[in-house]
Amino acid sequence: MSVQSRLAVVEKSGVTRKVNDFSIVVATVNGSGSQTANGVILRSLFAMGIPVSGKNLFPSNIQGLATWFTIRANAAGFVARTDQSEILIAMNRTTVIEDLKGLAEGGVCLYADDMAFEKSRGDVHYYAIPATRLARESGAEASLRPYVANMAYVGGLAWLLGIELSEVESALAAHFRGKAKAVALNFGVVQAAHKHAAENLTKTDGFRVERMPAEAGMILVDGNTAAALGAIYGGVSFAAWYPITPASSLAEGLQDYLPQLRRDPTTGENHFLMVQAEDELGALGMAVGAGWMGARSMTSTSGPGLSLMAEFSGLAHYAEVPVVIWDVQRMGPSTGLPTRVSQGDLLFAHFIGHGDGRQVVLLPGPNECFEFGWRAFDLAERLQAPIFVLSDLDLGMNLWRVPSFRYPDQPMDRGKVLSAEDLARLGGFARYKDVDGDGIGWRTLPGNSHPRSAYFTRGTGHDENAAYSEDPQVWEANMARLARKYQTAKGLVPSPVVEHMSGSRIGLVGFGSTDPAIQEARHILAQGGLPSDYLRLRAIPFADEVGRFLAEHPVNWVVELNSDGQMHSLLKIYFAEHAGRMRSLAHNDGLPLTARRVVQAVRDEKEEER
């Protein structure tokens, strides 16, 4: 049995109770409307105070292909994806045989009763739910029936696990935003299924949920919505974008919330503007134009779009224009795995542009999409530079149980901007002169009424006064100043988060969405006598602290969701002296990381050592 599957073996006689500790996989067909049902299950468990996560493993398709939704509930708070689930909700006849094979030993199979399949596993507990019949009897019009049929498995599962029906109803009310008719129709099916199960089925398995003392201040939200809200509280005023999975819901989050939050209450004026551009080239071009003009501006995209943004990124770097770029990473180019997760844009984002250039990259973990959403603008304007925020499909599109959003604890930093009055006092200014020694010049915004406010913006070839120059010394000095600016950035970006365990000689380094898997792996390893320290990177440039952490451990595992070990490569560049202490734990199969991968790699190496 796999290490992290802590399913107690169910014996035919005395059934072991497994409370608040299991994974559910819902196997359905894309486009069948199961999203609502899955969300309702997740939300109900969350409302009962149980740590929970939900992950949608979906194909690049609108309707017809197989799709899986996994829910993990874990009282101890470990909610990373697992390789195996204990509970299967089988609603897809084309995958049921395979789905059944993948179920953990002694697991549960809840299935639609009009689906004939061979019950090949003797160790599994089977429960049939008459989903189609209950949908027909619900009074829903024919076109809605396939959708409400999903509610039958919600009702069946509620009976099986003891999910409180009142929470199911509240979750439905939240989903349908109080539309009473829709709530009644769907909840009717949930109740009917629950009643059918109670009257006709006998529970033989040990899985149960129990209400836990609710941890105050937790919310359930997807990373893209959190990022959008963070940006709004960061004052984003202009956003241009081009649709792409898995980034679209970030821009759509802006579209949803900006009118609610950024319309002037007295005048009714919009204090924002969003443009769906003709492509990502245009999207970043517009965002750069707006940033140059002085608005807080951003764009959001995924890898293919980021590729198109390379030239403008380079220009923003050299022209020193503030702009925020969210990259919600997915697997590589073209068609195939666009709906699968990856952390594969790291090197590209850091070095994006032509010629020299190292970009500031923020790496939010699950709890930080909101915070980095607003912080990115302070950094962009302070540093007068493009700021890249690397999220990914798992972080962005899946629901996460995270601490509620904290209001920014700092006033907005609008960076170094000279007003007409400043210029009157100073008599003029030099756009690219390092007057403060931090590598950052002072800028003016177009529209500044002072006759000496204007400067000419271009990529390369400018002196301190922004005048055209191809003088080698002038350019070299400019590059030296940009290097100083990069050093300044190091002191401003979020520092890494370090967690120690006593007696540890193993270092783990990770970032972003892999955090839950790494945390769980540390727990499992520690139980097996292998304590570890963990450094979670939150930004590039790397803090000096990273080097100290690497130095403390004979072996540091660099954990990441890509095949080339991109973070490993970067760390080797910046901390070459510790290269020998680093091991790459690069893994890339399109799915969120599981603890097992990390545990296995660390244990295998320990075996070799012996």
Partner: protein, 347 residues
């Protein structure tokens, strides 16, 4: 025709600025380059119209033509962006502060080759700006390659002949939904100046395709983008007079010959028909005109199409009066109370 509003020969304009306040750096373009003539007209027109230089931005792509903004209006902020991508940067800048005027400078390669997509989307959006294409049918800055506006059969360098038909920038603009389309010739300063004034008065995207000979790579007399050819073949559509809002209008035309286009700012353009009877408010007439002149091998200049009331992107965007770039932190960051509300929705 007699016009009583001949420009006054004052040394300062209405806002007290001298013409030198509208100058830029010394040009580094070749002597005789058509682009220089365009620059001179921009300086003259902005001075004459008393446009505050600090209230204007200059944006451009890449090319000899796109260098031009450095050579006019030093007191206006300039943004020399990427090859073919001026429209997007300009769009973002203008939307971030729609109280500013904008003059965009592009080339035929910049607009009709690499930048065609952005160009068409910009005119479709009707972003408020003057969009000048200094059209020489060639890539000047990269030394003489054909651009997409080069005539079929043209030979520029030894042995190389352009086998493809040219793209007509005015036609593309029209099809893209542009609200102001005009063509002029760098060798016709009077007409260019009048059209520039009209373009600056127009509230949406004003596309000005200016044939601007490249004296180094494309000025052979037989080339349709040369000075000689232009002078020989130019057929102005109308005799144009621009009447600023403030000037009393005393024009003596023969009645029935004059069309007038009134712009949102109160100024107007008077058009006196010359030979062709062209109604510039008809898109169909404009399309026909371009097609006819193409088949006849003529070179019509003037105001080809205008719709002075077509809503601009700023108007349809729901933007208020405060420019986005001028919002205060209090206007930008919602209150803490609203966040409690948001948190409650996800709890």
């Amino acid at each position: 025709m007699t016009v009583a509003t001949a420009p006054k020969k004052a040394t300062t304009n209405l806002i007290g600025l001298e013409k030198s306040d509208y100058r830029g750096l010394e040009t580094t373009l070749c002597q005789g380059c058509g682009h220089n003539s365009i620059v001179s007209q921009i300086v003259a027109v902005c001075f004459e119209l008393s446009i505050p230089p600090e209230q204007l931005i200059k944006v451009s792509g890449i090319g000899c033509s796109s260098k031009a903004p450095a050579y006019f209006m030093n007191r206006a902020h300039g943004f020399n962006g990427l090859h073919g991508r001026m429209p997007s940067a300009a769009t973002g800048a203008i939307l971030a502060n729609h109280s500013m005027r904008a003059i965009g400078m592009s080339g035929d390669g910049d607009t009709a080759n690499i930048g065609m997509g952005q160009f068409k989307h910009m005119v479709r959006r009707n972003v408020p700006m003057v969009y000048i294409v200094a059209n020489n049918g060639v890539y000047g800055l990269t030394k003489g390659q054909f651009s997409a506006t080069a005539e079929q059969g043209l030979e520029l360098k030894k042995g190389l002949q352009n086998k493809l038909p040219p793209i007509d920038i005015c036609l593309e603009a029209l099809i893209g939904g542009a609200s102001f389309v005009a063509r002029s010739f760098a060798g016709d300063p009077r007409q260019l100046s009048t059209l520039l004034k009209a373009a600056l008065a127009h509230k949406g995207t004003a596309v000005l395709d200016v044939i601007s000979p490249c004296v180094i790579f494309n000025n052979k007399d037989e080339s349709p983008k040369s000075y000689a050819w232009g002078r020989e073949h130019e057929e102005p559509l109308h005799d144009l007079t621009y009447v600023p809002e403030r000037d009393e209008i005393v024009i003596s035309y023969e009645p029935g010959e004059i069309t007038s286009v009134a712009f949102a700012d109160g100024s107007s353009l008077r058009l006196k028909k010359i030979e062709v009877d062209h109604d510039p408010t008809s898109r169909l007439a404009a399309l026909t005109l371009i097609e006819e002149s193409r088949t006849q091998g003529t070179f019509v200049t003037g105001l080809i199409y205008v719709n002075p009331t077509q809503p601009t992107f700023v108007e349809i965007s729901g933007l208020g009066t405060t420019p986005l770039a001028r919002l205060t932190p209090a206007q930008m960051r919602p209150t803490e109370e609203t966040l409690r509300d948001i948190n409650a929705r996800f709890a």
